[in-house]
Structure formats: structure tokens, C-alpha cells
């Protein structure tokens, strides 16, 4: 019944608007002010004014957003390269901000200033080599600066490092969770082969590879030491995922059949960040940032940045792959015996 009424109301509304329009048009014709111009003077003036109103409202809206949400944005970068990314970002933002503001002002101002009215005549101005050169060359110069600065940062971030000096670890992605693995005592990750995936060996580690035995595996959270390069490798078990660590300005895709890598140096411990953000609950997180299925939105892991000592302590508490699988085997054997 209600829905029937709703439909009826909608239909009546449409009919009413149609009638109103017809009446409006008829009266316009009767009054004889049907302009030969397709746009009437009053419409022109009205819309021209709205252009200026819009301009101010738009900028006011931008300022409002900046003020009310600036404290929600990501806190200061917690990695060495992240700081550089942030300054690059601010530099670019300054340039594009100026362009954004200037062009929008000119656009809406001209749209307001030159609205058609009696006596106004357009200037026939079809072409000016000088002007066109200016707005080819000036953007080109600014872009050159942006490119050079940007690529310098990019090269620094992506240039290879000596894995002996780094903490070598791996993030393994699957629908819908992460597992971290460390190189262990030898700081070398053991080989893997996806065919070996099993309940007992979810990371498909090659048990015949001796480097694998001391690998440490961690679920739920992982720790990294502050001020040391962390070299991360990424693998995926099933579909694409992307390891996104926004506080460190770090991200890399996890691709089945491929091993990708990224390295960075964390500079602020979790404890320090709790103070800096004035938020005792603060934690670093790892998110999935490549659509991967129903629970893509909740595929996360806690990251803890420790002092070097705390990190060592934490790592020592973690079981090695060998211990883990022996414990597993023991349990399974026990289960088997009991049955």
C-alpha cells in the first residue's frame, strides 16, 4: 500500500512538473518576451553570479576539509625513505596546488566577468604564438624539476642493498591473512615450492633446504628493529595481494609464482610513535591493498617496531621452522597413536 502510494506520488509529481513547464512556456510566449537569443539575459546574469558563488564556496569547502581532517591523515613517516617521500609530496602539492587554485580562479572569474549582455562584443583572438609558447615551456620546466626530483627519490628507494647488512624477512599472503618469516640465525630464507603446501607446512618451505630449518615464523604480528634496513620479500599463495604499510610509506604487490621485494629502514619505534601521536593505542599495521576476495577489507597484521634489544629478545622467543614442524609432528603422532 505504502509503495503504491509512493509510486502514485512520484507519477503525480512528474505530471505536475510537466504541467508547470508548459504553463511557464506559454506565459513566456504570451508576454512576448520569447527571446530570439537562446539564453536570456537574466539567465546569463544569474548563472554568471553563481560562478563566483561557486568559486568561493568550493575553496571554502576545501579549507574546511583541510582543517577538519588534517589530523586524521597519516602521521609523520616512520621510515628513512618515507621522510623523503613526504617532502617530495609536499613539493609537488605546492606546485599543483598553485595551478589548481590559479586556473580555477581564472576560469570562474572569466565565466562571471564576460557573461553576455548588451553592448558586449567578443574579441576575435584566435592565436598567439607567444602565449602558447609560454604555456608549453613553463609547465615543461616545472615538470622537468618534478621528474628529476621524483626520480632521484625513486632511485634511492629502489637501489639494491647488501642483504648481509639487512634483516631478511618474508611476508607471505593468502586469502585472508599474512604470515611473516625471518631468515633466522643465518639470515637466509629457505627455498620454497608451492607443491609442498600442507597443513603442517603452510608456507610451502622446502624441508630439504638446510637454510630453512632455522627460519622463524610468526603469525598475528611481526617485529622489526628500529634504524636497521629491513629487506622484505613477498610471496602469495593464491591470488594477488599487496602488502601496504602506510606509516612507512611502503607497498609492494604479492604475486603468485613470483617473489617481489622492498626494503626500508624504520626510524620510530612503536613506543615512540604512541607518544608522538598522543595515542596510547597506536599500532603500525600491514594491510592488503589489492582486491583479493570477500575479506580483502580485513586482511591485516600488526607491526611492532622495537629497539634492537627488544627485537632480538622477541625473535629469540619465536620457534624455528624445525622446532615448529617437530612440535607439529609430535602432536600429529600423538593424535595418531591415541586413535
Amino acid at each position: 500500500m505504502i509503495s503504491l502510494l509512493t509510486y502514485a506520488a512520484i507519477i503525480l509529481g512528474i505530471v505536475a512538473i510537466a504541467r508547470l513547464l508548459k504553463v511557464y512556456e506559454l506565459s513566456a510566449t504570451l508576454k512576448g518576451n520569447e527571446q530570439e537569443d537562446a539564453v536570456s539575459y537574466s539567465d546569463n546574469k544569474f548563472n554568471a553570479r553563481l560562478m563566483m558563488v561557486f568559486l568561493f564556496a568550493f575553496f571554502a569547502f576545501c579549507i574546511y576539509l583541510v582543517i577538519s581532517y588534517k589530523d586524521n591523515l597519516l602521521p609523520e613517516a616512520a621510515s628513512e625513505h618515507g621522510v623523503e617521500i613526504d617532502s617530495l609530496f609536499n613539493f609537488n602539492l605546492l606546485i599543483i596546488g598553485i595551478v589548481f587554485i590559479a586556473v580555477n580562479i581564472l576560469l570562474f572569474y572569466f565565466a562571471y566577468k564576460y557573461y553576455s549582455r548588451k553592448g558586449l562584443k567578443a574579441t576575435y583572438f584566435a592565436h598567439s604564438t607567444k602565449l602558447e609558447m609560454i604555456w608549453t615551456v613553463v609547465p615543461a620546466v616545472f615538470l622537468a624539476v618534478i621528474i628529476i626530483y621524483g626520480l632521484a627519490v625513486w632511485n634511492k628507494i629502489t637501489s639494491p642493498i647488501d642483504s648481509n647488512k639487512a634483516v631478511v624477512m618474508e611476508l607471505f599472503a593468502e586469502q585472508f591473512k599474512w604470515t611473516a618469516r625471518y631468515g633466522g640465525a643465518d639470515n637466509v630464507l629457505g627455498e620454497t615450492n608451492y607443491k609442498l603446501t600442507a597443513d603442517m607446512n603452510p608456507l610451502a618451505i622446502d624441508t630439504t633446504d638446510k637454510n630453512a630449518w632455522d627460519d622463524k615464523i610468526s603469525n598475528g604480528e611481526f617485529h622489526i628493529p628500529v634504524n636497521k634496513v629491513v629487506l622484505m620479500y613477498f610471496r602469495s599463495k593464491d591470488v594477488l595481494h599487496s602488502a601496504y604499510m602506510p606509516h612507512f610509506r611502503a607497498q609492494m604487490n604479492c604475486v603468485p609464482g613470483m617473489r617481489t621485494e622492498f626494503h626500508f629502514t624504520p626510524t620510530i619505534t612503536t613506543a615512540e610513535m604512541k607518544v608522538k601521536t598522543n595515542n596510547p593505542e597506536f599500532e603500525y599495521v600491514l594491510l592488503c591493498n589489492k582486491i583479493c576476495g570477500a575479506t580483502h577489507w580485513n586482511m591485516q597484521m600488526k607491526i611492532v617496531v622495537d629497539t634492537e634489544d627488544d627485537y632480538k629478545k622477541w625473535l629469540a622467543e619465536q620457534k624455528t621452522f624445525k622446532e615448529k614442524s617437530m612440535a607439529q609432528t609430535a602432536i600429529e603422532n600423538k593424535v595418531a597413536i591415541n586413535h
Binding site: 617521500i85 609530496f89 591470488v239 604487490n253 591493498n289 582486491i291
Partner: protein
């Protein structure tokens, strides 16, 4: 139609009276409205199909925006449209969320802004503005529409199947799109998506080839390439981009079909899913991304260029001024077209691609900013010292320049590989591409509809409703998409069903509600347009032959629907299309068909 359209016996009439001119012969309902080979009718068919698809895609976006603003809340409208399976108790299911996002993006990009925009305006304007009787091949043109229509139907139908439509994002990256075990939408839904897109590509190719041949061969006397309106240049380059890039999408899709159905391993390798190791090894999901974006990036210009062409024409006409820098505009269309083929890697900076290759793509991508900047500045200069008639079409054109700039500048951030590390795939990207591509192209489309409605239907659309439509839409577009930059810079990834899983995002609820409210207002405002469109088609004020006092040829053809466009000879062209307010003339426009007066210089 002529007086004898009232005659009772259509069929015999048309066949017996051979003395009647070709233009006047009677057509049955089917050959006139359904299987028409007339470009003007085909353009209307494209437009109406696109409007339908646009309404569908817009509704989908409102559905998932409800979930983002009020996560986990019950909405009876969701249950009403999606059913108990996908919205149990009115709460959107997380698989369905991804499906809605996917189909929304697919429809908007391909069906509304590629098929709809190019299909409508290339068809309407190419023959009329170059002075041709019709497209080079009316039959292929008709086929192109019917491929489009069938593919639209299949895409639409795919939303109603048991396992749900494709849900891997509009970019359908494998392995997610290849494995039914990974997400239910990758079953039959994905198959239908692939079939639909294959037909879509076929239709788009037929259309594009036709446009190219027509522009090259059927220009009327005097219509040299440098006297073509910028609309035609834009459609022409768009068609070339389509012909070069869509086959690559077709190849990508075909290989995906093989991987899905015949056990090949082009994209699949070393996958363990549902407790089983798959046989396939040696393939690479990254290969798909290369193929996809080799189409995908030109695609954004396929969407954008026609809109820019349309607005160039409208801004010049309604400013009563020549477009500033005509040749520079052509040059930038060509430069953008060329560069758009060598930038695809900017979508893949963090796929593990070689960093040096990444640097090359940074360079090429930022180069594209130069011709784009030239275009923006030329538009603004065209307005300067003009005599602006602010029709609804003109307002949308001005709106386009604003969104093109606002959305374009954030592209500079995304193109910078070092910065992309942190914003890739976040809402910052969603903000960027909706403003620069979504809003701009939609504005271009509205601009075209308001401006050429009289040419299509012989009647005017109502200005007042048009103004209301523009202002509400314009405000809503910025209201929806501008705040998304901030959400992105908070680190929120796109394609997230909910932001509630992270403490990091806990203060974003109010901004998400703000966005959704603007989205609903914007969506409702489209009712004004739809009403205006259909009402004016039958009841609008009769239009004059040349209501905007425009120079181009389409306004010299009679308003009546007439096969062959001009009753007598084709018009001859003597000048470029932008002689507005030329000094020494009594009126502020000089149509292209007016010969140069003695001593007059051609611009």
C-alpha cells in the same frame, strides 16, 4: 516527415513511386527505429542505451555508498533490489559489495563513456559536421550498435545470476578473476563479463573503423583536415586509439578465457587454492596487467578526448569567440593520443617491475601533462574577453574545464613513482580518476546532449531545468570526490567493504557520510535531466534551424529526420569553423558555407 507520411499504404507507396526522391521513401517501424542504418537514428539508439546503463551504474554506486557510510546497517532498499541472498536483512554482503563496484566501474567506463559517448556523438556529428550523407558503411554502423546493445544486455543480465556478477574489479586481474574458488563472481559471472566485453570490443571496432574511413574519405568539398571542427579531430583520434588498443584487450581476454576454461597457464603460476596445488606453472599475472593497461590507459583518453572535443566546440560557439590556438589544440590531441600508448606502466609501479622501467614510465607520463596543460590554458583563454552565453551546455563545458584541471593535477602525484608507492590503490586514486575522467567525461556528455538536442529532436531542452541539473550535479561531484583525497591520504585502500577493521580509519565515518549524502543528492538530480530529456523530446519548444548561431555544417541541414542529411547538394566549405565575432562582419558568426569576401583572410 513530408505530407505523404500519412498515406495508408506505406509499402506499395515506397516501391511504386520511383519518382520520389530517395530521401522521402517510407520506412517500416523496424527499419526506421530498430534496424536503422541512418547515423542519426543510430546515435539516438546509443544515447538511450547509455542513459539506461548510466542509471543502472549510478544506482549501484548508491548501494555501495550506503554500506560505506553506514556499515552493517540495514536498508530495505538494498534487500528490495538485491534480494535476500546478497543483502540478508538489508545488509550488503561483502562479495556483493565487490560485485557492485566491479559492475559499476565496468558500465561507467565502457558502456556509458566509451560506447555511449563516442557512439552517440561520433555517429551524430561526424557525417553532419564533415558534410557527408551518412557513415561510410551504414550496415557496419548498425552492426556496431547491435553488438553494443547485446553486450549491454549480457552485462546487465549477469547481475541476476545465482553466483553473482564478476567481482574482481573492473580491471579483472587474474588469478582472482580466473578462480571460482577465490570468489564466487569468478564463475559464470566472470564468463558473462568476458563474453559481454568480447562483443563490446567487436562493436567498438566496427564503429571506430567506420568513423576513421568516413572522416578520411567523405569530407565535403572544401573541408580540408585543417578546417575540421575540433569535435571531429577528437572523434577521429579517439577512433584510431580504439582500433589500436581494443584488440589488445581482446587478446588479454581471450588468453584469460583459455586459462579459465582450457587449463593453459598464461597468467597462472604456482597457485595453491582450496587445499590443492594447481598444475599451472610458468605464467605471470603481471603479463595480464601489461596487456590490460596497454588498452586501459588509451581507454581513459578514449573516454576523455570526445568530451574535450565537444567542449571545445561548445566553448567557442557560446563564447562567440574562435577557439584559442586551434592548431595547438589539434597538436595536443595528437600528442595525447600518441603518448597515451607509452605510459601504461604507471599503473604497475609496485608490481615488482624493474625500477628503471618504472623511471621510463614516469618520464613519459609526466610528458602527457604538457599537452593537457596546453588544452586547459587554451580553454581559459577562449573564455577571456568573450561574450558568454551561459546555456546549460556551456555550464557543463566550464564545469569540465574545472574538473579536468582539478583531477589532472593529482595525476602528477600518481605519475611520480616514488609517491605512488604510498597512494597506489587508495582512495586518492579513486578521487583522481573520478574527477579527471568520470566527471569530465560525463560533463562532456551532458554538454553534448544539451547542445545538440535540437539537432537530434528538433526541439529545445528546458533551460531552467538544465541549470538546476548542472549546479546540483557540479556541487555533488566535488562534494563526493574531493573529500576522497583525504580518505586516500589516511591510507584507506579502495575496494574495501568497510573501514571498521582498522583503528587507523576510525575517525572517517563522518566524512564517509558526507560523501554518501552528496552522492544521493547528485543521483536524484539526474532525475531532472531524465525528465527534461524525455519531456522535451515530445513537448519541448520547437527549435530554430540554428539555435546557437553556430558555424558548423550540422546546423545547415534541415531539422527533419531525413535520410541523406541535406535535401539537395552537399554544402561546400570555404572557411574554418571558428569565425565568431570576426572583425568587419555584421553578425557575430560566419558559417563555414559562406565564401570568403574579397580581401578577407582565412584566420
Amino acid at each position: 516527415m513530408s505530407s505523404h507520411s500519412n498515406t495508408v499504404d506505406h509499402a506499395t507507396h515506397a516501391h511504386d513511386n520511383h519518382d520520389h526522391s530517395h530521401d522521402h521513401h517510407e520506412q517500416s517501424f523496424w527499419s526506421k527505429y530498430i534496424f536503422s542504418t541512418d547515423h542519426k537514428m543510430i546515435s539516438k539508439q546509443f544515447l538511450i542505451t547509455a542513459i539506461f546503463m548510466g542509471v543502472v551504474a549510478m544506482m549501484l554506486s548508491i548501494f555501495f555508498r550506503l554500506q560505506l557510510a553506514w556499515p552493517g546497517q540495514s536498508f530495505s532498499i538494498l534487500e528490495y533490489f538485491l534480494g535476500k541472498k546478497w543483502a540478508p536483512n538489508g545488509v550488503l554482503d561483502s562479495n556483493m559489495y565487490l560485485a557492485l563496484v566491479t559492475i559499476h566501474g565496468t558500465i561507467m567506463v565502457f558502456f556509458v563513456l566509451t560506447g555511449g559517448l563516442s557512439g552517440t556523438f561520433s555517429n551524430l556529428l561526424i557525417p553532419l559536421q564533415i558534410g557527408a550523407r551518412d557513415m561510410a558503411s551504414g550496415f557496419l554502423n548498425m552492426l556496431s550498435f547491435w553488438f553494443f546493445a547485446v553486450s549491454s544486455l549480457i552485462m546487465f543480465y549477469s547481475m541476476f545470476i545465482e553466483t553473482g556478477p564478476a567481482s574482481a574489479g573492473w580491471t579483472i586481474y587474474p588469478p582472482l578473476s580466473a578462480l571460482q574458488e577465490a570468489i564466487p563472481g569468478s564463475g559464470l559471472g566472470m564468463t558473462l563479463w568476458l563474453v559481454s566485453m568480447t562483443l563490446f570490443v567487436a562493436g567498438s571496432l566496427l564503429g571506430s573503423i567506420n568513423y576513421i574511413v568516413t572522416v578520411l574519405n567523405l569530407r565535403t568539398k572544401g573541408m580540408t583536415m585543417t578546417r575540421l571542427p575540433l569535435t571531429i579531430w577528437a572523434f577521429f583520434v579517439t577512433a584510431i586509439l580504439g582500433v589500436l588498443s581494443f584488440p589488445v584487450l581482446f587478446a588479454a581476454v581471450l588468453l584469460l578465457i583459455f586459462d579459465r576454461s582450457f587449463g593453459t597457464s598464461f597468467y597462472l603460476s604456482d597457485i595453491f587454492i582450496s587445499g590443492q596445488a594447481m598444475e599451472q606453472t610458468g605464467g605471470s599475472p603481471v603479463l595480464f596487467q601489461h596487456l590490460f593497461w596497454f588498452l586501459g590507459h588509451p581507454e581513459v583518453y578514449i573516454v576523455l578526448l570526445p568530451a574535450l572535443g565537444i567542449t571545445s566546440e561548445v566553448i567557442s560557439t557560446m563564447s562567440r569567440k574562435p577557439i584559442f590556438g586551434y592548431r595547438a589544440m589539434i597538436g595536443s590531441i595528437l600528442a595525447i593520443g600518441f603518448l597515451s600508448f607509452i605510459v601504461w606502466g604507471h599503473h604497475m609501479f609496485i608490481t615488482g617491475m624493474n625500477p628503471f622501467l618504472g623511471s621510463v614510465f614516469v618520464f613519459t607520463t609526466l610528458l602527457i601533462a604538457i599537452p593537457s596543460a596546453v588544452k586547459a590554458f587554451n580553454y581559459v583563454t577562449t573564455l577571456w574577453k568573450g561574450n558568454l552565453k551561459l546555456s546549460p551546455a556551456m555550464l557543463f563545458a566550464i564545469g569540465l574545464v574545472s574538473t579536468f584541471v582539478t583531477g589532472g593535477v593529482t595525476g602528477i602525484i600518481l605519475a611520480d613513482s616514488a609517491l605512488d608507492i604510498n597512494v597506489h590503490d587508495t582512495y586518492f586514486v579513486v578521487a583522481h580518476f573520478h574527477i579527471v575522467m568520470g566527471a569530465s567525461a560525463i560533463f562532456g556528455m551532458f554538454c553534448g546532449v544539451y547542445h545538440w538536442f535540437p539537432r537530434m529532436f528538433g526541439r529545445m531542452m528546458n533551460n531552467k531545468l538544465g541549470y538546476a541539473h548542472f549546479w546540483i550535479t557540479f556541487i555533488a561531484v566535488y562534494g563526493v570526490f574531493f573529500p576522497m583525497h583525504f580518505i586516500g591520504l589516511t591510507g584507506v585502500p579502495r575496494r574495501y567493504y568497510s573501514n571498521e577493521a582498522f583503528a587507523l580509519f576510525e575517525n572517517l565515518q563522518s566524512i564517509n557520510i558526507l560523501i554518501t549524502v552528496f552522492a544521493i543528492i547528485g543521483a536524484l538530480a539526474q532525475g531532472l535531466f531524465i525528465f527534461n530529456f524525455f519531456y522535451s523530446m515530445y513537448r519541448g519548444k520547437k527549435s530554430l534551424q540554428n539555435p546557437w548561431e553556430s558555424n558548423t555544417l550540422e546546423w545547415t541541414a534541415p531539422v527533419e529526420h531525413l535520410h541523406g542529411n541535406w535535401p539537395g547538394e552537399l554544402p561546400t566549405v570555404y572557411r574554418w569553423p571558428y569565425d565568431y565575432s570576426k572583425p568587419g562582419k555584421d553578425v557575430d558568426f560566419v558559417p563555414q558555407t559562406v565564401p570568403l569576401s574579397p580581401g578577407e583572410e582565412e584566420h
